[in-house]
Symmetry: C2
Subunit: 412 residues, 2 copies
């Protein structure tokens, strides 16, 4: 054995730089909180964006039947193309193609959840040292993915007083030569907002002017309340190239199944290199579970529309019930959602004695009332909190009542 390098004479195994900058702000905030629920009150969590945990939202039996069929065929256990199985992509193209925004099988790449789809899309478009435009408030995975890759996150503001529309004037000031793309999340987590057609057209106009590729996270597509209408942004432009991200998680209530996708909308061949990039990047983890991929045609075509409408109706009812309680509370400011599964609540923090910010508000609320909400800081939006609309209505009411008690007790 030849002489040992001095640097290798002792064990020293530091974590990689990339791993250190891969942060999940939700986990960080909640872990650092260290608050415990009040042992005398049953915990009601309004924190997680997982509709399956309470048992009131059940997946449709067509989805179960679809997977059992694949299991019993003994033919859906093998490797699939890393970018997704052909039948699944074909079914998705058929289901989601429209005249204004046509899709073929070549325009679809599957991933392991919408998270992986976002990872592929951001990874294909952005280099280390470039920047990406993200919504504030916004879902934290965009930051987790971008920061991990050394991409600078720049935040454009959503305006609570205008139903969380984008502040386009402020957005424009963020764009420079190193801006690789913009992420637009509509309907929004955490805001529960849904952009009007007109607002979407204004966004497209900006992207056209500044040649900004759009990553459109539309995982809550069609999940809108009442007479509100959802417009897929790709249906409103033929010139701005769009990578749309969505998945099974929310529509079919199966977030654990980990199947998502990227749709490539690019009528002018601007994204030719990006198509290849998505396929290359899919070689790292080799794609999503084969049983679910093979089940996608059945899942898409055998699940009745009423199932999805039921989910929406429940969320809408929860939104209206909780908004009516919470909007009466002094010191809080409710922004009634138009879709998705969440509601943002402003906290006039200076009106609460001895509570310094939203994180402390959430911690105390948990300790005293055993109600868990996510502080706005998880979404880069201090002095707000996000609640989830998916608990059973009685639990949600109970939680809102406890929030009221808490606020009355602490309001100056």
């Amino acid at each position: 054995v030849k002489n040992v390098m001095t640097s290798r004479s002792k064990w020293h195994v530091p974590a990689s730089i990339v791993s250190k900058r891969t942060v999940n702000p939700i986990r960080e905030t909640v872990f650092n909180m260290r608050a415990k629920p009040n042992p005398d009150k049953e915990l009601i969590s309004l924190a997680l964006g997982d509709p399956t945990i309470f048992g009131n939202f059940k997946i449709h039996e067509s989805c179960i039947d679809a997977v059992i069929k694949q299991l019993q065929s003994y033919k859906a256990n093998g490797y699939l193309p890393a970018f997704g199985c052909e039948e699944a992509r074909k079914a998705l193209a058929e289901k989601f193609s429209t005249e204004d925004a046509p899709l073929t099988i070549r325009d679809i790449v599957l991933g392991s959840g919408a998270s992986d789809a976002l990872n592929l899309a951001i990874g294909a478009l952005c280099n280390e040292g470039q920047n990406i435009l993200l919504p504030r408030p916004g879902f934290s995975i965009y930051q987790t993915i971008s920061q991990s890759k050394g991409i600078e996150c720049r935040y454009y503001d959503l305006l609570p007083d205008r139903n969380w529309e984008i502040d386009l004037d402020q957005l424009i000031t963020l764009i420079d030569d190193k801006t690789a793309c913009i992420v637009i999340n509509n309907p929004s987590n955490p805001c529960g907002s849904n952009f009007s057609r007109q607002h979407l057209e204004s966004i497209i106009q900006v992207c056209e002017t500044y040649k900004l590729v759009i990553i459109a996270d539309e995982i809550y597509e069609d999940m809108v309340f009442g007479s509100t209408k959802f417009y897929p942004i790709a249906s409103l432009t033929k010139s701005v190239p769009i990578l749309k991200v969505s998945g099974l998680a929310k529509r079919f209530l199966v977030p654990g199944w980990r199947v998502g996708w990227v749709f490539i909308y690019d009528q002018n061949g601007i994204l030719d290199e990006i198509r290849d990039a998505l396929l290359s990047l899919s070689n790292i983890i080799l794609g999503a579970n084969s049983l679910i991929q093979h089940s996608i045609p059945d899942i898409l075509f055998n699940t009745p529309d009423e199932f999805y409408q039921d989910t929406i109706n429940q969320c809408e009812r929860s939104a209206s019930v909780s908004a009516s309680v919470l909007s009466e509370i002094r010191g809080l400011h409710v922004i009634v959602p138009q879709g998705a599964m969440y509601m943002m609540i402003g906290i006039n923090i200076e009106e609460f004695k001895g509570i310094k910010d939203d994180v402390e508000f959430a911690a105390k609320l948990l300790e005293e009332e055993s109600v868990m909400c996510l502080p706005g800081q998880c979404f880069h939006y201090p002095n707000y909190m996000r609640i989830t609309l998916t608990p059973p209505i009685e639990k949600l009411k109970e939680a809102c009542d406890r929030i009221r008690e808490f606020c009355i007790r602490h309001h100056i």
Copy 2:
């Protein structure tokens, strides 16, 4: 709208640098081959490491029952911790813990397939600009992952004349201050080799001397023939820290299910930062399919050992049948495998008229005989080819006969 930057006045959307360096050598080689099978002969593919495609290897019904149980419970569809569900990690710890290499639930991180587990392990240990030691011949995903991250791949040689043992003298010359870790794949894809206890101890000795963390890809663990014995490398050292990677794919014949794992063996706290790094990195794609994760206890404990032994016996029989035909062929040189699902065959390329290398050999073989093998170049090992032992024995015999015809026809 303020003045538009000149750099943003036209659409220009190049693929990211990372995507361009994310290459799958198997796909590259096979795509560039462009050969078509002979239309007059039925295609027999010995190319893919997927035991499910021929129908002779069927998954055990206990696995099917396990997943159906989870589907029917309606309780396995939600988000799990990104690093894996507790029951699954508990079952794995119970199943794989030994006195020499103990495991607790904290030592286990699940991923979406062994590929994702490798991506987590390499990503936690290595920085861009460092180097990683990889086997030659070796499975291509190590290169795909490492190159994608800007880690330099350095190849240590496996010696065909010594049953593919590592050339440790050559390995030592590769190590420098920037060497982050070594990947050891045992039993090996593509070699079908299985290291002796003595050889493993020599490897450990080198790693101890040079303070090299080991990533042990043992996805073919226990898959060895006859009286050969497999030793998990972690069972032979208490001082060298090891990240062992494995998964459901091969043992349970479900590569499409995409569940793999990293086991952390580190009795001296050398990998403390790496533990956290693995958890951080798992936040990007949020882990593997929940139905399969929840099924892991049943899969591990309800599948009879005979099932696995059957798979091994079939592969062993295939190895011996094909080796006996192929070893008689002039111009070929068979290295009889000791395990896994593959066999490497040396081609004395100068003995074949007008065939320049293994890629051309494989292309012509496909065009003339409709037999598809993977050229050694896919594994950085020219003038070899890899065949898979999983086709039904009659097909495999037929393929070997055709290879003989082909060789006789082209031998000088």
